[in-house]
């Protein structure tokens, strides 16, 4: 008994001792720690030769030059392209994070067809024949004009090709999402005649009077604005920011002038009144009732009256007007936030009129009235009778917002088929419920989206677009830039999934349709098409990667038509009811339109904007009766209600609630969607008579303890 125990004891001790004096212990201790240093589930990026390729980012109308670093032809980093005429090396966080779009969990990986409420993947051939078949029916039914197009703001040949397709098809129903570009063209058309647009020479202005324009919030061509703004200090130029909230632009400005939301137009006209009264204006080619205008503004927009409306002291208004008139190279800039949604023509016109009165039209550092004669030279489209007929027709309505209302209003379908390209109206337009309803009213919706976003989900067929890193495309700068630069987006990788350049998809469709439509799109590939239609600038594009179409102040001074303002159009008022006013906030770190933000972009968002899955709204402590900082509250508007957290912010005007744009996505991407609420669910559109713009700068609301 005992001996056994001892034998085993000996055995055990012996074994232990034997192992102890062998390498086993040491080696295993060492190797197990090395194992933790090389865990198989921690990725090891493959090394290889480094190369850099230039391209242009087309995520927003900014069209910045980018340099893509590759390892063994595998893109690993996007950086700003030095000496590119738009951004000179600067780049926004969305561009830098661009590679995340390639592998975005919400990518549409192949053509899709809706079956019940689910999507099933189909081949391109099936997809094309399916769509062309449906379109053929529409056309044969004798109503070609019932094919519609909703496209994102950006210009360029792909959008042009879409328009061409609809022309050849026989439909005038081309609608663009609200954009700064369109707002400016409309303004130019109203004041200086059709076919024009306006560019602001921020690089050279010595006093920028910004009516809420988020010059560093993503307004216009964002990086160009950033560059101009940061150079401002070295040039000893000044920036005065007029808006109800201490935005980043206001914080960065030399002076912040708080103003009641939606009263920018009144202030602009107030300033005009002072200039006229004090005879500080520079006479120019003014027509369309200039004197009537002068009389109206001096009567209706005298400083005291404007003070009552805007909350800006009369004395300050006088001073501001004088400062503006006395400055060497002042320019006034319209367009709250990013200048796209919730804008009104009255404000745009009033601000541009201020430029006109100060004699700043087509002067260095002023406002350029430009005629962006398109560099695109498409051959004559061949039209059959149906096309001719359609081309003759009037557009059903003026703007995309009106289109949505008409779709909902009429019992029988206004549109039988709808293309959606480079836009996400079901998320971006105000009162998204209304938009989704409207989409249900259209029998056949085709989305050309790269991602399964809200609109793609509301469509019947998806012809997935390759991202800007996977395709060739020409991208002209838009939005208030004083020069026109066309950049060439080049494919940095072969399409990761079974996607196509929308241009190619469209050409395939046209071929499938046959007839004059095919003739009008008689190219084998979109790349071929681009090379042809880019005409004169193709060489520059393909060699330098960009072409400068127009630069510097245009010749001569354009006339200014005062008839619109002389009629003293009414200012748009916020709808809904409640003691507070909810206004959307543009935050550079969040994309407000299509495509949605990347995981990296969302990661940078402050916890005072997004907390877990709760959106955080800004209010002035003075407004927050009974509410706690960082506490929960219920926000109610006539459109709906939302559970929010509140952030006490001394930088926002009492009585105003600020809610960021770009959250509350509902598609399948856990890093980006399912966070917070979409401000567009809470705000309804207010159409400005005449312009057709959705001018809802906010909506009345109540905020109460949750």
């Amino acid at each position: 008994m005992k001996i056994d125990r001892r034998s085993f004891l000996g055995l055990g001790l012996g074994a232990a001792a034997g192992i102890a004096v062998s390498p086993v212990g040491v080696k295993l201790t060492d190797d197990s720690s090395i194992w933790t240093q090389n865990w198989p589930w921690t990725p090891v990026p493959e090394d290889g030769e480094i190369s850099y390729e230039n391209s242009v980012c087309s995520l927003c109308p900014g069209s910045c030059g980018i340099s893509v670093r590759k390892i063994k032809n595998r893109p690993v980093k996007i950086e700003g392209l030095d000496e590119y005429p738009v951004n000179d090396g600067g780049i926004c966080l969305h561009g830098i994070a661009g590679l995340q779009y390639l592998y975005d969990p919400a990518r549409v990986k192949s053509p899709m067809r809706k079956n019940g409420d689910r999507f099933e993947p189909i081949s391109w051939d099936e997809a094309i024949s399916l769509v062309s078949g449906k379109l053929a029916d529409v056309r044969d039914s004798g109503a070609p004009h019932t094919l519609g197009l909703i496209s994102g703001g950006a210009g360029g040949s792909v959008t042009a090709l879409f328009k061409r397709f609809l022309d050849a098809f026989g439909s005038p129903n081309v609608y663009a999402m609200p954009s700064l570009e369109d707002n400016l063209s409309l303004t130019a058309a109203t004041l200086h005649g059709a076919g024009n647009t306006i560019g602001f020479d921020l690089e050279n202005a010595d006093l920028v009077l910004s009516f809420g324009a988020g010059l560093i919030e993503g307004w216009g061509s964002p990086m160009a604005c950033f560059k101009a703004n940061s150079a401002r200090r070295d040039r000893h130029a000044k920036l005065y920011q007029i808006e109800p909230r201490l935005s980043n632009t206001a914080a960065n400005a030399d002076r912040w002038i708080p103003i009641k939301p939606g009263t920018e137009a009144d202030l602009a006209l107030g300033l005009c009144a002072v200039l006229l009264k004090k005879n500080l204006f520079t006479p120019g080619e003014f027509f369309g009732g200039f004197n009537r205008f002068a009389a109206v503004v001096q009567k209706e927009y005298a400083p005291e009256k404007v003070e009552a409306v805007t909350g800006v002291k009369a004395a300050d208004i006088e001073k501001l007007a004088v400062a503006f008139a006395k400055a060497k190279m002042p320019v006034a800039v319209p367009g709250k936030g990013r200048g796209d949604h919730g804008q009104n023509l009255k404000e745009f016109a009033a601000v541009q009129t201020l430029n006109a009165l100060a004699g700043r039209l087509n002067k260095e550092g002023g406002a350029f009235v430009m005629n962006p004669d398109s560099y695109l030279a498409f051959p004559e489209a061949s039209m059959d009778d149906a096309a001719e007929a359609g081309a003759g027709q009037e557009k059903s309505v003026g703007s995309v917002n009106e289109l949505v209302d008409t779709l909902n209003a009429s019992a029988k379908p206004v549109l039988n088929a709808l293309f959606v390209y480079n836009a996400n109206p079901c998320y971006t337009l105000r009162d998204t419920k209304r938009v989704k309803e409207a989409f249900k009213k259209v029998p056949f919706v085709v989305s050309f989206s790269s991602f399964m976003d809200e609109t793609a989900m509301a469509s019947d067929v998806i012809l997935p677009a390759s991202t800007f890193l996977e395709r060739l495309e020409d991208v002209p700068t838009g939005g208030g830039l004083a020069k026109t630069v066309v950049g060439l987006t080049r494919p940095m990788v072969n399409p990761i999934f079974d996607t196509k350049n929308p241009g190619d998809a469209l050409i395939l469709l046209a071929q499938a349709m046959g007839g004059t439509i095919a003739e009008s799109c008689a190219w084998d590939t979109y790349d071929e098409c681009l090379e042809e239609v880019a005409g004169d600038i193709w060489d520059a594009l393909s060699e330098d990667g960009y072409a400068v179409v127009s630069e510097g102040a245009p010749m001569g001074t354009p006339g200014t038509d005062f008839s619109f303002l002389a009629s003293n159009p009414a200012s748009v008022q916020a709808g809904g009811n409640g003691d507070l006013l909810l206004v959307p906030i543009d935050n550079i770190r969040l994309a407000g339109t299509a495509p949605a933000s990347t995981p990296f972009a969302v990661k940078t968002v402050s916890d005072r904007v997004l907390s877990g899955t709760d959106i955080v709204v800004e209010i002035n402590p003075e407004t927050a009766k009974g509410l706690k900082d960082c506490g929960y509250a219920v926000l109610i508007t006539s459109q709906g209600k939302a559970r929010v957290k509140v952030n006490f912010n001394e930088g926002i005007m009492p009585g105003v609630i600020g809610m960021v744009k770009g959250l509350g996505h509902t598609f399948d991407n856990p890093y980006v969607a399912g966070k917070g609420v979409n401000v567009n669910d809470l705000i309804g559109p207010v159409i400005e008579p005449g312009s057709g713009m959705d001018a809802a700068f906010g909506i009345k609301a109540t905020l109460s303890k949750a």
Binding site: T29, S32, S33, W35, T36, Q37
Partner: protein, 416 residues
């Protein structure tokens, strides 16, 4: 089997009852073990620690158990070096408690680090300028000492002692115990100190930073001192609890009062030093970095002056005074109150020196950071307590831990 192992003449509760108790505590232990494995396999995302709270409940637990475990080295020092023979009646138990505390500390550290399999880097790739390196080395070495001090007591088990080799080994080890005790005291001085140093050297953290003597910040000496002062309190507290549970008197009042008296004087002197340190820090050190005392104790939901008061007055001055005066010291209630307050006081001090440091904002635009441990953290922190209870129970049952047990309980036996 069971009865054969129980020390001669000693009365112990029936085996089934014993096992039942063990089963209950064992369940708690298993819960902790489960949490431990969660942390090892899923990583530290199982905790509520974050980038502000890199040190939290676990590090506090470490510092606390090592502080209260200080009773072992200090009692050993008194017994073997200063030859206070009276303490032989409690030294065994002090050693066992120390052993439990230090093994627990090592276990918790093994859970706390993000890469347990690389833990040995702290020895192999040691950076001698880091207080933590000093802690790691002295801690593990002193744990070896405690094991050595514990072995003879184990070998004195009735059966083991029959093996002549073990018998002799135990005898010889007793013979040279003074040497081990001395080494232990040396090592303890440094690791207790360097644990204090961990906080004191953080010159980026005005709440923690203290002036230095040579390479050591004030907290270095304060920690050693406080461990020596409050350690015995814990030894006594556990003794009292054991007596309460077993319903026996295990250590004579003479011994208890002696140790209590020594502890009392240590605490009182420590408190004087601590108060001087606090005043100097509040008046000179912190202000030199632009911080006022108010900054550390206001504008947050938890840390107020109360914690300073609780640590220094309630958990320091009061027990100190209660223990130095014969009258209060020999009053069972007062004594119990004193040692309990003492233990709470020192634990509170360690809490402040770990968690409040992390909570206080340093950058002017930074904010207070508060934290609540996750259940995994709590479970792994309770785990050592369960383990300690079980080890004490087993040792008490099968080892002659208390030399006085038989004589103190003679009358009881006579009546049977």
């Amino acid at each position: 089997m069971d009865s054969a192992l129980i020390p001669e003449g000693a009365k112990r509760c029936p085996f089934p009852k014993f096992m039942l108790g063990m089963a209950i505590v064992g369940a708690v232990l298993l819960w902790g073990v489960y949490a431990m494995f969660l942390c090892w396999f899923k990583g530290l995302n199982q905790t509520n620690m974050d980038d502000y709270y890199g040190f939290a409940l676990w590090i506090w637990a470490d510092l606390a158990v090592i502080a209260v475990g200080g009773g072992a080295f200090f009692t050993g020092l008194l017994k073997y070096i200063f030859k206070i023979d009276e303490l032989k009646n409690i030294i065994n138990f002090a050693v066992i408690i120390g052993f439990i505390c230090y093994s627990s500390a090592l276990l918790i550290l093994a859970i706390d680090i993000g890469q347990p399999l690389r833990g040995w880097f702290i020895f192999w790739h040691a950076n001698v300028h880091s207080m933590l390196t000093e802690v790691a080395f002295c801690l593990s070495c002193y744990f070896a000492v405690l094991t050595i001090e514990f072995i003879p007591n184990i070998l004195e088990n009735r059966q083991l002692n029959k093996v002549s080799f073990f018998h002799h080994l135990a005898h010889n080890m007793h013979g040279v115990m003074a040497v081990f005790a001395a080494t232990g005291a040396f090592l303890s001085f440094f690791h207790q100190g360097s644990l204090g140093g961990v906080a004191g050297v953080m010159f980026g953290r005005p709440f923690a930073f203290r002036e230095h003597i040579l390479i050591w910040p004030w907290t270095f000496f304060l920690f050693t001192w406080s461990a020596a002062a409050f350690g015995p309190c814990f030894t006594l507290l556990v003794t009292k609890i054991t007596e309460a549970i077993t319903g026996k008197k295990l250590v004579s009042d003479k011994t208890v009062n002696l140790l209590a008296k020594i502890s009392g004087w240590m605490i009182t002197t420590y408190m004087i030093a601590k108060i001087i340190d606090t005043v100097y820090w509040a008046q000179v050190t912190a202000p030199s970095m632009g911080f006022t005392l108010d900054h550390f104790y206001s504008n947050n939901a938890f840390y107020g002056y109360w914690i300073l008061f609780a640590e220094i007055i309630v958990g320091g001055v009061v027990p100190g005074l209660l223990l130095i005066f014969k009258k209060t010291r020999e009053n069972p209630i007062a004594l119990l109150t004193a040692i309990t307050l003492g233990v709470i006081g020192v634990c509170l001090n360690r809490w402040v020196m770990v968690l409040q440091i992390m909570a206080v904002p340093v950058m002017p635009f930074d904010t207070w950071a508060l934290y609540i441990p996750s259940w995994q953290e709590v479970a792994t922190t309770i785990l050592p307590v369960a383990y300690g209870i079980m080890l004490i129970a087993v040792s008490y049952r099968y080892l002659p831990v208390f030399p006085q047990e038989l004589e103190l309980n003679k009358p009881a036996q006579a009546t049977e």
